[in-house]
């Protein structure tokens, strides 16, 4: 007799992933978007962390190593492992890489703008990296590949016009824990997969310490709240602390502006963002 599958509870987060099928879909996505944009390849800012490493591995699967450019963008306080791990990815994938030390640019910026907090300085660093990536993209005719995952995007844990800026993002519908599963399948080095996630904008920064919860926990909660659309009450009944649930809901709502283009005040009969409706892949 066939075993009856266990019924799935309505409040059970579904974070399952077929890594090979997912890889095939994302490979096709990158290939298709690069070709229809008429570009030669992609450029990726390699931080040495999990997300940008996975993005680079996917890009090489999609386009081959010759069409992928990795750019390492360290600051003087960056953890030495960050550069080392980025170099590891470059070496393992056999892609052309370059190292652009952003310290002098950050210092010139600081002298001019005097950022009074490490958050402002961190945002500036993320945006300086963005400028360099977009300049490379124009130089070599390549799309900037985004590396923000669904967890960061939903929590707003990223810099607008900084690391959130990209042309296409293969990771934006994968939670952090799913990116980790994909990383293992793609053969991302263990050292990168197992270290604590960090934006590395200042010494000893840690995503999970800063956010106040682990990715394992918040991904399960997000899968309930966002994907399954369960109520706050059901999420709490499923075992999540009310404070955590409220904190996560607040973060999602307050960071909505980071997930949308700037608002345009509607004046005419056909306005961009309202009723001028064309896909990005218009006529391609």
């Amino acid at each position: 007799m066939r075993k009856t599958p266990r019924p799935v509870a309505a409040t059970e987060p579904d974070l399952g992933l077929d890594p090979e099928l997912t890889t095939r879909i994302l490979r096709g996505f990158i290939r298709s978007e690069v070709h229809r944009a008429g570009m030669a390849g992609v450029v990726i800012g390699l931080s040495g962390g999990l997300d940008s490493s996975v993005a680079a591995f996917l890009a090489v699967r999609a386009l081959g190593p010759e069409s992928v450019r990795g750019v390492v963008l360290p600051y003087r306080s960056s953890h030495p492992d960050s550069s080392a791990h980025a170099e590891l990815v470059l070496g393992k994938l056999g892609i052309v890489g370059e190292r652009l030390e952003i310290t002098p640019v950050v210092e010139a910026f600081s002298a001019l703008s005097r950022p009074g907090s490490r958050l402002r300085l961190g945002n500036a660093m993320a945006r300086i990296r963005m400028i360099l990536l977009y300049d490379r993209s124009a130089e070599i005719g390549a799309l900037v590949l985004g590396t923000s995952n669904k967890t960061e995007l939903l929590l707003g844990y990223g810099t607008l016009h900084g690391d959130l800026a990209s042309a296409i993002n293969p990771l934006g519908d994968l939670y952090k824990t799913q990116v980790r599963a994909l990383a293992e399948h793609l053969g991302v080095p263990r050292a990168i997969r197992e270290k604590a996630p960090s934006a590395d904008l200042w010494p000893r920064q840690s995503d999970e310490a800063e956010l106040g919860f682990t990715y394992e926990t918040v991904d399960r909660l997000l899968a309930l709240l966002v994907d399954a659309r369960v109520s706050r009450r059901s999420a709490i009944a499923a075992g999540f602390a009310p404070r955590l649930v409220d904190d996560v809901i607040r973060r999602i709502v307050r960071s909505q502006f980071k997930r949308r283009l700037p608002l345009i005040a509607k004046l005419s009969t056909r306005s961009i963002g309202w009723d001028f409706r064309y896909p990005r892949d218009w006529k391609s």
């Binding site: 399952g16 992933l17 879909i25 996505f29 296409i168 896909p279 990005r280 892949d281 218009w282 006529k283």
Partner: protein, 309 residues
């Protein structure tokens, strides 16, 4: 029906590029003719791509127009089902599929159920079709349903009751969920739906789903044929472009309809009476309250999407 060989054309059309897509169809048809296909089925909106939004009027074609004659000419050597945007009377734009044979139009089906929820926004861009009709072809009676139409079981039921033996279902089904050991969830769900529908209507269903990418959407493919016993025969793999031929054997249909005479036993009078009662109940018409045990499901305003013809 007569036994025939059908080709499933799992293509990736270019978005909004009618001319290039016409070429793609012509190339695919040459390939299918080499495979000795009698009928080639293309996906939903195969000549235009899916995520058209404001491009809908720009790529629309009127039946009988010079553009339409070009499309019909595709069927000179082999019968074809293509998807396109039809501009109908009153400048309404329909998500349509045409059955073409020997260079001429045989039948147009206009998608009746336009999904407008979740990721879908078709009700905004298209006018809904208002009829579900079987039609004669050189292979026997056929019916066409486009994607979401299949999710409303009465569509397939109506076609089978009108005598359709082959249901053709062009689709643009986006990929959702890739779960370990289960493949692409959306493709698996479609296959379940096809098997059940084919079994209920004891008919062949030819399902052709597109592949390719539009704005981050990927289309799952997994085109297949369900036979009148509800078994999948000759599927194409998901995600990748491909062409497969499947023989639809008239004897299988005969055996299925002999073993399961469900269509023969259908009680149209019962259905008619109950539908009439439901309709009276829904719109507070006299006679609706008689013998009711609960409230009818609320529905759209009377007459919505239905023009008097």
């Amino acid at each position: 029906m007569k036994t025939l060989r059908v080709a499933l054309a799992q293509i990736a059309p270019k978005l909004g590029q009618l001319e290039e897509n016409l070429d793609l169809h012509a190339r695919t048809l040459r390939h299918a003719r080499r495979e000795k296909a009698d009928l080639v089925v293309f996906p939903e909106l195969s000549l235009t791509g899916y995520l058209l939004r404001d491009q809908v009027p720009d790529v629309s074609v009127r039946a009988g127009s010079p553009w339409f004659r070009k499309i019909a000419a595709l069927s000179r050597g082999v019968d074809v089902v293509v998807g396109f945007v039809e501009e109908t009377a009153g400048h309404r734009y329909c998500n349509a599929a045409a059955f073409l044979s020997r260079g001429r139009l045989v039948h147009i089906h206009r998608k009746v159920y336009l999904p407008t929820y979740g990721m879908f926004d078709e009700g905004r861009d298209f006018a809904a079709g208002d009829r579900v009709r079987a039609f004669p072809t050189r292979f026997g009676p056929v019916g066409v349903l486009i994607c979401e139409d299949l999710w409303h079981p009465m569509c397939a039921w109506l076609l089978a009751q009108q005598g359709a033996e082959i249901l053709i279902a062009p689709s643009c089904g986006p990929t959702r969920g890739a779960r370990s050991g289960r493949g692409i969830t959306s493709v698996a769900v479609w296959h379940d739906l096809l098997c059940v529908t084919a079994r209920f209507q004891t008919s062949f269903i030819v399902y052709v789903n597109r592949v390719g990418y539009e704005d981050g959407l990927s289309f799952g493919g997994g085109s297949t044929v369900a036979d009148p016993f509800g078994r999948l025969v000759g599927s194409l793999p998901p995600i990748e472009e491909g062409l497969a031929t499947v023989d639809l054997d008239a004897e299988v249909l005969r055996r299925a309809r002999t073993a399961y005479p469900l269509l023969r036993d259908e009680n149209l009078d019962l259905m008619y009476r109950e539908l009439q009662r439901l309709r009276d109940l829904r719109y507070d018409l006299p006679g609706g309250a008689e013998g009711s045990v609960g409230r009818a499901q609320p529905g759209p305003a009377r007459g919505k999407g239905a023009s008097a013809r």
